[in-house]
């Protein structure tokens, strides 16, 4: 993509730099050998760092690498030299957040491998061929676990629920502005699906 944000790879490595689950979206590494080398380089550049509380970042051969470590897992999101690193960090947090939810807060290598299916589904719901699909951890986790595609139904607070009800009523009265207010909610809900849930 010429202008859109593009994620070149997501790596999940263990304490020794071995692959737990990695996805490569760019043609820069066509063979598994090149992919392993890339992982090894990224790992050896970063594994001594402390990236446990905040995501860290470096640049490696024209590749921006943002990373964060949790327990015995190292998570990396990489993009091109021109990419917005803050945006890549958002993707990283989205992946981490979603995996945190699907692994029921036990994020470590053992759990990740035991529930590898869920981890891979989280990656699949975050990035499609390098293009960002979603950056909301909860919604990614929901789609990965297949609980429901009506976004956020079970997460709605009373206030939001009331708001959505009001939106529905207003919509019925075809007061466009009020419906807009529900629609503008940032995490991608459409007033329709909220309404479906409410009624």
């Amino acid at each position: 993509m010429e202008f859109g944000p593009f994620v070149k790879s997501i790596l999940i490595l263990d304490l020794e730099g071995k692959r737990v689950a990695s996805k490569f979206y760019s043609d820069d590494w066509p063979t598994n050998e090149e992919r392993r080398t890339f992982e090894k380089n990224v790992f050896s550049m970063t594994h001594m760092k402390n990236a446990r509380t905040e995501a860290e970042v470096t640049i490696f051969k024209d590749e921006i690498v943002v990373y964060k470590f949790i327990e015995d897992l190292h998570f990396y999101v990489t993009g091109g030299e021109e990419e917005n690193e803050v945006l890549l960090a958002t993707v990283l947090e989205a992946v981490l957040g979603a995996i945190f939810i699907v692994l029921k807060k036990k994020v470590n290598k053992m759990e990740a491998l035991t529930h590898l299916d869920l981890v891979l589904l989280c990656l699949d719901e975050t990035i499609d061929g390098g293009i960002i699909v979603d950056t909301d951890a909860k919604s990614i986790a929901r789609k990965a676990t297949g609980v429901s595609l009506d976004p956020g139904a079970e997460e709605l607070t009373i206030g939001e629920a009331l708001k959505s009800a009001r939106g529905q009523v207003m919509k019925a009265l075809s007061v466009e502005n009020m419906a807009m207010e529900v629609g503008t909610h940032d995490s991608g809900f459409s007033s329709n699906s909220l309404a479906d849930w409410w009624f």
Binding site: K49, N84, V86, G97, M110
Partner: protein, 891 residues
């Protein structure tokens, strides 16, 4: 989220024991995959097997074609199951197996069924899978559903279709472009992600339509953008529009700048940063425009999040290259980042400071850097070295401390690229700061005493040979050089011999002693290669008798003069010569002088200034060999002598007309041959006796001497006809030529391919073209422009100044003059840094009659964009220097 890891080592042992995939084996997993064929599907078990397969694929285990096919077929059976979780895994593995076209057909109907399912999850995923594995033919079948999906009320489904559309646009743009209406509708979606994906796709569909992109940006910057991601996209598109429209010349305002500035106050950090970055990257950005962006970046410098600090310092670092003053406000924040835990941030901070620092802060900075160098990676060290080099060029008086720093780090451990960066820097400092020469050369001498890189040793020896003899006491370098002859491998020894000989040739007083050393080199005892002995013999025999006497100028030129032939051409010709054994000695004049490809940037000598890798200049014709071969087969042209130059083809017809014709101008000493390349694009026609009637009434100095008609021109088979002209020797005759294609046309029966017997005479008007001065100039590069310039007779120099009028940018002016003169830009000087107001460009080439020409162009641009140019020409012939001025004056 992060929890402290208590006992790493114990943990590791445990997990090795319990990994669910411990001892996993492909063969066994493939056996397991047979459960997919069970009549009673066990969804849980099947999911587990798929997970194992996915694990293998993710680890990079490769499946043979047969294995993959078998797994794929088994997986397709799983569509019978109604289990949601299993279906989700089926989608995932189909994508990972990337089935072949004939396999895709098997699964298409199942996926199409899912695409119309009432379960949203099925719809969304089926779309993504199908679009991933499908090809164009299948796409037309499902296009209707995809268009519906784009406007599906479920945002996940809509996003799935839009994301797939973005991918498909790369492979089948013609289909995706038909979805514009739906995508346009989706841009208005209230779901944030749908809007984001729709915006991305819509822009891609329209990206070649400036007006449409501009409209899109105009409406959205005023409307509602619902997610930070979409906002980032919009900022990028806005920058694109700004780039293409430029500044309003009346008000000096930049359209949409206000929008970018407003984004600096957005609540999402990614948007703030995207906007700040976009503003700093505006072309010809003014200080007023920059200020708000710099202020925001400065705030980010002290963020608690490393990513934000990094983003800010990286951007400011780039700004510092073009607007150092704008960044100085951030210097205090920047200095505190030198101790940042994240070394990438620290490195960027240091290099920014080096770019913006003033003379008085140099010493303090150098102290901080010295402590810091030991704990960063080589890549960062190179960045620091390059920053120090430019700092030194900026403050030549500080060379002592900077040179010391460089020589210290040269002695420390480091890889090739790092050492090369240091050596390159020292070499550049030696060249540009005369005071630094002697100490710099000695540092290099010390370095080659213990240098593990042959390439660097030979480069330094070569440089030493050029610069050492010109120093006050050349003899002090001899020891270091001769040590190489004793201690090193054959390549370095050979270089050292050449360097010694240079000292001998240039420093007469040293000659007797050099001769003694060279004679010792004759006993070099390498059995495999005799290059060391050969070189010593050559020098001993050509440098005179070893007495204190001046070396003959021609000998010097022969031994150490620059080779004015492109090395790649030399290599090709030599290889051909070696392959076809002949009694004749190799003739260096047989090497073509045309530069065929870019000079090898990677292999350039350390003496050259590093050139930013800008866009490569248009590759000069690589077909000259082929042309020469064609022309030599035509007896009429055989006595024209050696081909001097062939132009790039000039189109004489519009695209997609009945007959496509272009012309190549071949320049000989007395003659010009026009080669018309003709293509007949009408299947129902056969053309015979094809010629071009040339009207040269506007080219007085040319007279037609021969025509080579084309017997027949069948459909879609390109062929050539030629017309030759005579012209006065030595004069770069120019003129305009009008052309008409004349031929006999015969109808062809397309079913049998046979032409009718009777034809009709017909003519077809072609465009005019001109022979211009640049046609008489060959692009020939020189390796060291300064040396080449200085070795030319200053009396041949002709200097004049020209006003080029208002220009869009300096780049445009520089390119225009380069293409007018048709010379080869040297040392990367054709690349004009962004926002420059002045630029010097070095050109070289060979004028017809084998006259070497060198050109220095100095450009300057004033505030009203008026460009002035000073043109200095040196050449082997004063007339040629004047001729070049004439070209510019009349161009």
């Amino acid at each position: 989220m992060a929890q402290p890891l208590v006992k790493k080592d114990d943990d590791r042992d445990e997990e090795a024991d319990y990994s669910p995939f411990l001892g996993i084996e492909k063969g066994a997993v493939l056996q397991d995959a047979r459960v997919f064929n069970d009549p009673q599907l066990d969804a849980r078990r099947c999911s587990q097997v798929i997970t194992k397969l996915l694990y293998l694929l993710n680890q990079g285990d490769s499946f043979t074609k047969v294995e993959a096919t078998e797994v794929f077929f088994a997986v397709t059976k799983l569509f019978q199951s109604k289990d949601n979780g299993l279906r989700r895994m089926v989608y995932l593995i189909i994508k990972d197996l990337s089935p072949s076209a004939d396999e895709v057909i098997i699964v298409t109907s199942s996926l199409m069924k899912d695409m119309n399912s009432r379960t949203d999850m099925y719809r969304a995923n089926a779309i993504r899978v199908l679009c991933r594995i499908t090809d164009g033919t299948l796409l037309t079948q499902i296009e209707r559903y995809l268009k519906q999906a784009i406007v599906d009320k479920n945002p996940v489904v809509a996003s799935a279709a839009l994301v797939s559309g973005i991918h498909l646009l790369q492979t089948t743009p013609e289909i995706v472009k038909r979805w514009s209406n739906e995508v346009q509708e989706a841009v208005q979606s209230r779901a944030a992600l749908v809007q984001f994906h729709a915006l991305a796709l819509l822009h891609q569909i329209r990206q070649n339509d400036r007006l449409a992109v501009s409209k899109l940006v105009t409406s959205l910057t005023k409307g509602t953008v619902r997610s930070p991601l979409a906002q980032c996209l919009l900022i990028r598109y806005t920058s694109q529009v700004i780039r293409e429209t430029g500044v309003n010349s009346q008000t000096g305002d930049r359209p949409f700048y206000d929008y970018l500035e407003s984004c600096l106050r957005h609540k999402a950090e990614m948007v703030i940063f995207e906007a700040a970055k976009a503003i700093t990257e505006l072309s010809n950005v003014t200080t007023r425009e920059l200020t708000p962006a710099i202020t925001v970046l400065q705030l980010l410098l002290s963020s608690s999040k490393p990513v934000l600090r990094f983003a800010a310092v990286r951007t400011l670092n780039k700004v510092a290259m073009t607007h150092p003053m704008a960044v100085t406000n951030c210097n205090i924040d920047m200095e505190s980042l030198i101790s940042d835990q994240n070394r990438s941030i620290a490195t960027l901070a240091i290099t920014t400071l080096l770019k913006t620092g003033n003379e008085s802060s140099v010493d303090r900075l150098m102290k901080q850097i010295t402590n810091f160098m030991s704990d960063i990676a080589d890549e960062f060290k190179i960045v620091v070295v390059e920053a120090i080099r430019s700092l030194c060029l900026k403050f030549p008086l500080k060379y002592r401390s900077l040179m010391n720093f460089l020589s210290n780090i040269l002695r420390e451990e480091g890889g090739f690229e790092y050492k090369k960066a240091i050596v390159d820097s020292i070499v550049i400092l030696i060249r540009d700061i005369p005071d630094a020469k002697e100490s710099g050369l000695l540092h290099l001498c010390e370095f080659i005493e213990d240098c593990e890189f042959t390439y660097l040793s030979t480069q330094i020896l070569h440089f030493l040979g050029n610069e050492g003899p010109k120093t006050s006491d050349p003899s002090k370098y001899i020891r270091y050089i001769y040590n190489r002859v004793i201690l090193e491998n054959a390549t370095v020894r050979a270089s050292a011999v050449s360097t010694l000989a240079k000292f001998g040739a240039l420093v007469d007083s040293l000659k007797p002693r050099i001769f003694i050393l060279l004679r010792r080199c004759l006993f070099d005892n390498d059995d495999e290669v005799s290059v060391v002995r050969d070189r010593a013999t050559l020098y001993l025999n050509s440098l005179g008798d070893g007495s204190v006497a001046e070396t003959d100028k021609d000998v010097k030129e022969f031994l150490f003069g620059s080779l004015d032939i492109p090395l790649t051409n030399m290599e090709t010709t030599l290889r051909n010569y070696a392959q076809n054994p002949t009694e004749e000695p190799f003739d260096i004049d047989s090497v073509p002088r045309e530069v065929k490809s870019l000079p090898l940037v990677e292999k350039k000598a350390p003496g050259k200034k590093p050139t930013p890798l800008g866009p490569p200049p248009p590759a000069p014709t690589s077909a000259s060999d082929a042309y020469e071969r064609i022309l030599s087969t035509i007896p009429e042209f055989a006595n024209f002598g050696k081909l001097f130059k062939s132009s790039v083809p000039v189109e004489l017809t519009e695209a997609e007309t009945e007959y496509a014709v272009n012309v190549v101008k071949h320049i000989f000493d007395h003659h010009v041959v026009f080669q018309y390349n003709c293509t007949n694009t009408i299947p129902e026609q056969l053309l015979e006796n094809v010629t071009v009637i040339v009207d040269a009434s506007e080219a007085e100095e040319f007279s037609e001497v021969g025509v080579k008609p084309l017997k027949s021109l069948p459909y879609d088979t390109p062929a050539q006809t030629f017309v030759a002209f005579e012209r006065p020797e030595g004069v770069p005759s120019v003129g305009k030529f009008s052309n008409t294609l004349r031929f006999t046309v015969k109808e062809v029966d397309t079913s049998t391919g046979e032409a009718e017997d009777d034809g009709v005479e017909d003519e077809y008007q072609l465009e005019d073209f001109e022979v211009v001065a640049a046609d008489y100039i060959l692009k020939v590069g020189v390796s060291n422009f300064r040396n080449a310039w200085e070795s030319m007779d200053p009396d041949t120099e002709r200097v004049d100044e020209y006003g080029l009028g208002p220009r869009e940018s300096l780049v445009e002016a520089v390119n225009a003059v380069i293409s007018l003169l048709g010379l080869q830009p040297c040392e990367g000087t054709e690349t004009v840094p962004n926002n420059s107001r002045s630029h010097t460009c070095l050109l070289s080439g060979v004028y017809i009659g084998n006259v070497k020409v060198l050109v220095r162009l100095s450009f300057g641009m004033d505030s009203s964009k008026e460009v002035a140019m000073k043109l200095a020409v040196r050449s082997d012939d004063v007339n040629v220097s004047e001729a070049l001025h004439e070209i510019v004056a009349s161009g």
